[in-house]
């Protein structure tokens, strides 16, 4: 946790009955995804049904979370105060090995990234309660 993330709090989605295992997982330092016992896919975001097959038989599983960069941008426009100190910053779409594509910030990079680069989860504490999934180059 650090002062530089003090304004991220208001960007966080509210925790509810559906998504709480995901956020609880990040709080405990791991990435968890919903797994469909009907068709076997992992999905994000969480729902009460499987987007692929419609099954409501879902369970939460811990996943590795690693993957590769599917696309990315480098944001220069100061859209929100929370990101101001990181400008310009990278946002990546990560194709997770475990299934879904995730949208995540990649902050404080030492070198530019490219599509296809291997990346790993970087779970960033925002405050005493919440952590978010960011990514960093696998190294």
């Amino acid at each position: 946790m650090s002062e530089e993330f003090s304004e991220f709090g208001e960007l966080l989605p509210e925790i509810n009955a559906i998504n709480s295992p995901y956020w609880d997982g990040l709080g405990e330092g791991e990435v968890r995804l919903q797994h469909c016992k009907g068709c076997g896919v992992n999905q994000y975001p969480a729902e009460s049904f499987c987007y692929e097959c419609g099954s409501t038989d879902l369970e939460w599983r811990k996943v590795d979370g690693g993957g590769e960069v599917y696309s990315f941008i480098v944001v220069h426009q100061p859209y929100h105060a929370a990101f101001k100190s990181f400008l310009p910053y990278t946002v990546a779409i990560v194709q997770m090995d475990d299934g879904p594509r995730m949208l995540a910030a990649m902050l404080n990079l030492d070198a530019p990234i490219n599509i296809g680069d291997r990346v790993q989860p970087h779970i960033q504490a925002i405050n005493n309660e919440r952590s978010v999934l960011m990514y960093e180059p696998t190294g």
Binding site: L11, L12, S71, V74, V75, H76, Y79, R101, L103, I115
Partner: protein, 382 residues
């Protein structure tokens, strides 16, 4: 097939407000002024209108929007509705108007879009995307389209320089359009020197946020014969909506254009080669490249080159965005592209007039490559 309908349908009037900054002009007023201008253009009055269809404003999402606009025109229509396909709505509404007239439920339908995000509220334009995208730092449409552009460039070899040619070509056309917000041509160096918004997009890859209203009047060929202006026939319409959050679907860097275009060409009974000019939804420079490629007008990966080689300039093989498009004429979500296509087919465009066009294509797109619609227009009578 459109020709299997009982009758042919036409656009008989087009109109619009000033584009850019219109302080003191409400969202309702932008719609009313545009519809009244379109009725004047058609030599019709509000008494002739029995259908009012609108796209919801992008900056806010009011309820009962079309009835409010009808009220402000003092019309009590038989058919009324607001469609939510974002930027693709303006063609979707025409399809709905044709259905209503074909079913005998209306005879003259006014379609409009009007909004004041430039001088009113523009907060919705900078909102976060992708569910919990805010915490990932993904705000605003440019960021999401830049993601798609990066992937498209990776998959098909489209270059940054080719994106510049889209922006420069549309600006060149806008330089001949007194209605356009941006009319000064720029060089590739000036393009590259414009500030970064979200790499790979500079400012000049992005359309502006603009106030404005535009409208058109739809009726039958039979009714059009009584009117003064050359009718513009609606020969084909297609739609396709990839719908999912753009980064979660299989092919992130494609739009609904491939399916929508095929539907439109088939319903018009023409081939892509038969099109004389295009008015393509160009909210960002990558979009016309994707659209031309997905329509099969050029091969995948060749859209950027097509721009770079000048084929889309007026006088080229296939002039595109003859008014300057969203990038240079006005950043409104697409209604104005239909207005320009109609004017081209009537031969009203002065210095930027395409040489004797018979068939024009209009594309529209909404969300982040979320919705797509295509329309084929012609000036060929029976």
């Amino acid at each position: 097939m459109m020709k299997d309908l009982k009758q042919r349908y036409c656009i008989v009037g087009v109109g619009h407000t000033a584009y850019g900054k219109n302080p003191g002009v409400s969202q309702i007023a932008h719609n009313v002024l545009a519809i009244r201008a379109a009725l004047d253009d058609a030599s019709l009055t509000t008494d002739d209108v029995d259908g009012v269809l609108t796209k919801a404003p992008s900056s806010t999402f009011p309820m009962l929007w079309a009835p409010k606009i009808a009220e402000a025109l003092r019309i009590q229509p038989q058919v009324v509705g607001t469609l939510d396909q974002a930027g693709a709505s303006n063609i979707g509404l025409i399809q709905y108007a044709i259905s209503a007239i074909e079913l005998g439920q209306a005879s003259v339908v006014a379609i409009s879009y009007g909004d004041n995000p430039r001088t009113g509220s523009r907060a919705s334009y900078a909102r976060a995307r992708g569910g919990d995208g805010a915490v990932a730092g993904l705000f605003g449409a440019p960021s999401s389209y830049a993601m798609a552009a990066r992937r498209r460039m990776y998959e098909y070899g489209t270059t940054k320089e080719q994106l510049a040619y889209v922006a420069m070509t549309h600006r060149h056309h806008a330089s001949m359009n007194d209605n356009a917000i941006f009319r000064d041509p720029f060089t590739i160096d000036e393009y590259l020197d414009s500030r970064w918004v979200a790499e790979p997009f500079n400012l000049l890859d992005c359309c502006p946020v603009s106030d404005g209203g535009a409208a058109y009047i739809i009726t039958t060929e039979e009714r059009a014969k009584e009117l003064t202006k050359t009718p513009v026939f609606i020969d084909g319409i297609g739609q396709n909506h990839p719908s999912w959050e753009f980064f979660r679907r299989k092919d992130m860097a494609a739009s609904g254009a491939a399916v929508s275009g095929k539907m439109a060409f088939e319903s018009a009974g023409i081939k892509p080669d038969d099109v004389d000019f295009c008015e393509i939804y160009d909210c960002f420079t990558i979009v016309p490249i994707i659209t031309l490629e997905e329509y099969g007008i050029v091969e995948r990966g060749k859209g950027g080159e097509f721009y770079q080689e000048g084929h889309t300039r007026i006088g080229g093989k296939l002039p595109c965005n003859t008014s300057g498009g969203l990038l240079s004429e006005t950043g409104m979500p697409g209604t104005q592209l239909v207005v320009e296509a109609v004017r081209q087919l009537r031969g009203e465009c002065g210095d930027r007039q395409v040489d004797n066009p018979e068939t024009g294509l209009v594309s529209q797109q909404g969300g982040i490559l979320t919705t797509h619609a295509t329309m084929i227009l012609s000036n060929k009578g029976a």
